[in-house]
Point group: C2
Chain length 185, copies 2
């Protein structure tokens, strides 16, 4: 992205893992023990609460990232990834307390990072390709980078959903708060 002023090294698996191992702790620090009205509040119809978002992250750990890594390694482009269920966090199979969801997300992430380490992916493996149901051919590197960016996307979303609950309370300061005004930047 040319808009970035600092040079970024090429994608490195160690960097990705550095972030992936931190996400469960980050969400735990932000959410565990918070008032329930707040962690169950969303941004309106068909939007997700922090509770919902952690459920979504659990489902991704179960069905998306490492399963797709293994499909690439075992089948390459010949087997299309399964479609992802974006509504799984509303099913009864998920833990029904936020603490339970945070625990399960942390445990699944630990297992998945252990599985990733055991695969000992080489630079050549990062160039291997698979087939996405919508995008067609994708690389292992893109899949792993997306795992990272997806974590950060949802940390961002959790912060935003929490912050917006104070939209009225901040009064005139809403003009300075991008989290309330909805502006980027």
């Amino acid at each position: 992205m040319t808009e970035l002023s600092l040079s970024q090294p090429s994608f490195a698996l160690d960097d990705a893992v550095a972030l992936l191992m931190r996400t469960p702790t980050t969400l735990d620090a932000l959410l565990r023990g918070m008032p329930e009205w707040w962690t169950r509040a969303n941004e309106g119809a068909k939007t997700w609460s922090p509770f919902d978002i952690v459920g979504h992250l659990i489902h991704c750990e179960e069905t998306d990232w490492i399963p797709r890594v293994k499909i690439i390694l075992e089948h390459g482009e010949s087997r299309t990834f399964e479609k992802f269920n974006r509504e799984a966090q509303f099913e009864a199979s998920q833990p029904q307390t936020l603490g339970g969801r945070l625990d399960q997300f942390a445990a699944l992430r630990r297992e998945n990072l252990r599985a990733l380490a055991e695969l000992r992916l080489s630079d050549a493996d990062l160039d291997r390709t698979g087939r996405h149901p919508a995008f067609g051919v994708v690389t292992m590197r893109q899949l792993l980078a997306t795992w990272v960016a997806h974590d950060l996307d949802h940390v961002m979303q959790v912060s935003r959903v929490l912050g917006r609950q104070y939209g009225d309370d901040v009064g005139p300061w809403r003009a300075y708060l991008r989290i309330i005004s909805g502006q980027q930047g």
Copy 2:
């Protein structure tokens, strides 16, 4: 905000403190020990890196929230708040390592929450008013709610700045990642 589907209780100081005490731990979990290229990267000219953002939060603890609370209690609307310096994080007085900044932010937040508790603000105190240099009359409640929303705004920003560094690496998945595409929602 009528767009929110779940009912929110009226602003409560205990809720605000529940979030405020978590922010240093959240940022510590997300940032400490991460690769330096990543925590020093920004979103382009005149934008902030995670390192810069933690410096900004330090300066807010030193000059904004609790000092303004005290101005309201001592002077009401008769003394306008000091203008805030949005560039203080680029000054040499700030710690020059991310770990040092995280430590300082956590220590200042602890002190400020202790000072807040010692003030034993009543519901009537939350209705007290002060004078903002741009907005005019504001309430204690609005100031404290803004402290909370401002924390979350910058947790959101840190996540976004980190995620955008992977903007190229995710390939076609950028279409699904609001953190990269810049879309809200």
